[in-house]
Each structure stands twice: as C-alpha cells, then as structure tokens.
Symmetry: C2
Subunit: 367 residues, 2 copies
C-alpha cells in the first residue's frame, strides 16, 4: 500500500492486479466497443478530420483492441504506433491484420512509460477517460506520451475535457440509507448471538463496523444512468482541461466553487451528479475541420457506459425552487490507490442571498 | 505476472491487492463469524480439549478478528500469539481487550513468513481452509509457521484434512450452456454491427472471444450449496493431509484416480462436486479428549460458507445406475496466481467392467 500517492512509487504488481487486469478481457473490450456514443464520437473525430491524419504519424495510447489505431490507418495515417500494456496487444495485432492495415499499425506491448518510439508523432489519440473523467488516472500516461513523443505543433485527440456537477434527486438516497440501517440491525443481532453462543463480546468493533458500512452504503459514489429530469439545476463546470498543456499536477486534483439556482418545483435535493465531456478540436496549428464532442451528460438518447457518478447526501437537503446551492467540491486521489478518488463536498442552501444554515460537508469515495 | 509458480517469487503488492485486501473488511470477517458450522467446530475443538490448552503457548496463524486466539486464552492458554498481516490486526487487539484477555493474547501485525516469536509454541491453531480446501494456498503459511515455531510433540488444530469428489446432477449445467450460447450470439451481432457501422472487421477475434467466454461460463468451477440428493454416487476421497507432516510439495497438487458406482435411477451426470472436511484429533503425543470434525459436504442441516465447488461437464455424461464413473482428477496451482487452481478431470463410463466410450477430459479453473 502506498503511504503517499505523490511520493510513493506505484507498485506495478498491485496496479496490474487492481487495474490493468480488467482490460485483458475481450468481454470488457466488447462492452466499450458497443458504446455507440463513444464509438461515433471517435469515428467522427477521425474521419471528419481525415485530412489531418493523411500521411501523418499517430500514437494511440492504450490501444486495447486496436480500434482507434485501425481507424487512424484507414483515415490515411502513414504510421500508427499502438501501445498497449496488457496481453490485449496480441488481439490488437490480429485486428490490424484482419483489417489489412498491419503494415501501417505497429502494435507495441509495453507500458507507455517504458516505450521508445523511433520517431516523434503528429497526433496522439487515446480513449483515456474513466468514470467522472479522472478515475483510473490514465491521463497521466497520456501526458507522459505527449511530453516525450508529440512533435511541436502536434494535436491531441481529444483536445479538451470538462467536468460537470449538478444537484439531483434520486430514490437511491432512501434505499441506501435503508440498506445501511438494515446492515447495522444485522450487526446488533450478530453481537448478541456471538456473545450468547460463543462467549465472545464483539461489541468493541461496533464503531469500526459502522464506519465501514457507512463508507460502503452512504459514502461510496454510485454509477447511475440518470434521466435529465432528475437534475434540479443547471450543471456547473468544475474543471476544464486542455489536453495539449495540462500537467499531472493540474489533473490530480479538482477544487471548484459552485453556485447553482434550483429549478422551480424543487423541494428536496438528494445529492449531486457528476459527469464529463471531451472535445475534438484538433490543435491551434491544425484546427479540426469539424469539431466533435463526446458528452456523457444524462440524456434521453443513447447513453454511455460511463453513465454518471452520483453523490448522495444524508440527510437530503431541504430546499425549494429559486434557492441557491452554494458550495465547493474538492477531489483528490485516494491515498491507498492513485487510480481512485476521494471527494469532499461542502454545501449550503441560500435563500435571498443568505445562507439558511451552516454549510454541510460530506466525504465520498469513487471506487 | 508470474511465469512459473514454483520458481517465481510471489509479487507481494499483487498478492495484497488480489488476496489479503478481502480480509481487511469487518463485513467479510462477520460473514465467517456467522458460519455456525465453522464456529461450533473450532469452539468445540478448543473447549472440549481445554485440558490441552491449559498453561500452553499457542500460535494463531491469520487470526483475523481474533476469535480463535480469544477462545484459546479463555480455555486457559498461558500465552497466545495471534498473527495477522492485514489491518484487521487492530480489530483483533480490540477484541482481545474487550474480552479481558489482552494480557494473554499478543496480536502481531506481520505476515507469518516475517514474524519472529520469542519462544516456540505447543499448539498451532488456524482457520486456513479455502474453497475446495486448497484455494487461497494459505496452508503454505501454516506449514512455515509449524516448521519454524512448533515444539517437537506439539499439536496442530486442525490436525487432518480430506478432499472429496462425487458425481452430481444440477440444472446449472444447461443454464451455463445457454448463457454461453447467448453470449456467442451476442458476439455475432456485435461483429456485424461493428463492420457495418464502423468499418472494422472484428471477426478475427471470434476464436479468442469464444475461448474467453467458454472459460468464463463453462470452465470456471462454481460455488454452490448442494442438496445431498443431487449427489449420484458415494464420494471418493481424493486427498488426505496430515497437518503435522505435510509439506508444501504435498499440498500443491492433487492427483487421484477414482472409481464411483452410480446410484440406482441415475440417467445423466452433470458433472462433479468437490468439498472437504477437517478433523481435530490433537497430536500423537497429546491426542484430543474429544475428536471434532468440520464437514462441508452437502447437507440438509446448516451449511457452511464454503459450500461445494461444482465442475460441470459439457455435454453431460449419459450413464445409468450401476455404471461406474472411472477417472482421474489432477489439480495444480494456476500459473498466473498461486492462490487459484487449475483442475483437469478425465473420466469414462464403465458398464460391466468395460468402458462405454473413450475417456473425456475437461479443464476447469477455480477462481
């Protein structure tokens, strides 16, 4: 375990066990390849801007099954380096061969941090986004690739990313509280039984058990695919990333104030929902012919596998239409695992410019 | 990843991420402490043989929440060393204090391989059994503890273990085959869609996808709590372990022939079921006053959290009452993770002393 994510080196064995192993399964690749919103965005970004790919050298960071690399080749790239650390690299090689672009697409099985390319590249393409954009911390690897291998004036695909936060309502809030209470009632029975039947008093662990269960049921953010009408106010932008210039320092924390008027008819706020979008605008030197956006906001149309992250407040906030939710979100990387996130949400309800009560702070874990 | 489990050292970071992390949750400890069959066996083994614990020095390997250590102290042990590698050690300390045996029970947070005790011990107690006994490979650590810290003439609790295999029937066999076929039909649609919509041919991955899905749906052994009447013949003992003398070499493989007559009325065999029992017989120098057994066989009474492991044959075997299932089971540790197991099952149906067909071999993974 890492005592400090900033200083401790990443344990590669644990990182593979916890993280990369997932991407070694074709089933998981297929899930991502079946996400039409994701697929259409990248497909459009490449083929509507084929002019920018023609005759160029491209690097695909974390190619997985190789789809982006194949598209780049089909769009006319001269050479595509497709880097993948898991054994999925073997499948990517087959996909390049099966689609007759094996002479253009060179699959390299290595972590991007260890790779040496024979030349610098014109374009870096990557699908690096995790839940709530930054989970997985994969953009760190893209930054390393960019700083080492992107030519001056080169382009990032995607070029920009944003994170959003909006107040929301959900029946999940009551459900999770009930599950938590049920779990604690079960614990009480367990303590009684263990004392009576086996002569050991476990009540000394009650506080720790409650903390553990609270973290699990009430403080772990949830994946959810929300309907737009569950949102109770306009989303606030809490982070903007320019993929061409962002540093690891820029992206390892989020720290943003927000002030969101609630829609008419609201009487209760269950918590907050977070999501992201990314844009394909090419680069200042070579702007996209056609800008493309990949949006993971709640939608009535086809939704993405990213869904939204939900942070439920317990108890819910009493507030009504026209009130303003004023607060702050701070997100940092988890101490125990740099690919997970800790979120601190502080908020208060304001009415007529004045706070109705003291600010409330809640801690969440994106697991 | 480990290229060879026999030679490669275990990656401690990966092992913690994959294995020990589970035992860091009180929820998981509570599940084990709520397994009455398990609890009653260990409780009886200690208190019915309290004479052997009185005034003795005890080592508890992997104490978890500390229950066995507390019982040993309550039974009159002079000193109990309770070794636990995860942070659960802190909870075990609280349990010892909360039950007024903190002066006897010394909780040591370390892996048993790294620990140095100030003295040798009279008794080693441990709940080291995984699914199908050997999953988790935790007995390796108990062997190290025994060879380093058990006095000559000392006792192991439990003292003996056995593994069983029996033919069985289950509706799961058809269900898993249907799930597999459904998954492959879904793959075919995916390949068509990806080619039509996105111009990439993924059919080159069909074979790999089929292998992956076959492994997942058909070749991964299943946890199940069987009814006794699902068994179609008497169980064969496929492994016997004397905990006082077994070496890591002895327990790292299972290689046993079996020959099991089928009960009357059988017309189809879905596969095999495996389980284990352990015995508390004290030691040759200090035999138990009252032998205790912990049995995880299919039962109509209260069952254990271990349940049984189920290995389903596809297709099922055609056989009838009086036929003999003759075969061989070979179990080895997984190359990628020494705590998981690979199982090779070869069998043939014999009628009147002659095989009805060639032997069939199936591979399984205990994940």
């Amino acid at each position: 375990m890492e005592p400090d994510t900033k200083r401790a080196p990443v344990d590669k064995g644990a990182d593979f066990a916890n993280y990369f192993c997932t991407y070694g399964f074709l089933y998981h690749q297929k899930e991502m390849l079946s996400d039409r919103v994701r697929m259409e965005a990248y497909h459009s970004a490449i083929f509507r801007n084929a002019r920018h790919f023609r005759g160029k050298v491209v690097l695909d960071v974390g190619t997985g099954s190789g789809i982006l690399a194949v598209w780049a080749a089909q769009a006319g790239a001269k050479k595509v380096y497709a880097v993948e650390t898991t054994d999925m690299a073997n499948q990517a090689r087959k996909v390049a061969e099966g689609n007759n672009v094996a002479c253009t697409v060179e699959v390299i099985q290595a972590s991007i941090e260890d790779v040496t390319l024979p030349e610098k590249v014109d374009i870096i393409i990557s699908e690096w986004m995790g839940y709530f954009l930054l989970r997985e911390s994969m953009f760190d690897s893209v930054i390393i690739a960019r700083d080492r291998w992107l030519k001056p004036g080169g382009a990032m695909y995607p070029s920009h990313a944003r994170m959003f936060l909006a107040p929301m309502r959900s029946a999940l809030a009551d459900q999770k509280m009930q599950e938590f209470q049920h779990s604690m009632a079960d614990w009480d029975r367990f303590v009684l039984d263990t004392r009576e039947q086996f002569g050991v008093d476990m009540s000394c662990l009650a506080k720790s058990y409650e903390e553990e269960q609270k973290k699990y049921y009430l403080q772990t953010s949830l994946w959810n695919s929300l309907y737009p009408n569950q949102l109770l106010g306009a989303a606030a932008v809490i982070k903007e990333i320019d993929c061409l210039t962002a540093t690891v320092n820029d992206i390892s924390t989020v720290d943003a104030d927000f002030s969101i008027p609630l829609y008419e008819g609201v009487n209760r706020v269950s918590g907050y929902s977070g999501w992201f979008d990314v844009h394909f605008r090419g680069s200042p030197a070579a702007p996209a012919d056609s800008e493309v956006q990949l949006d993971t906001a709640p939608s009535l149309d086809e939704t993405t596998h990213w869904g939204q992250q939900v942070f439920l407040m317990h108890p819910p906030l009493r507030a009504r239409g026209g009130d303003v939710l004023a607060g702050k979100i701070q997100m940092t990387r988890s101490k125990d695992n740099h690919r997970l996130m800790d979120v601190k949400l502080t908020n208060a309800v304001e009415r007529g410019g004045r706070p109705l009560s003291h600010p409330v702070t809640a801690l969440f874990y994106i697991e």
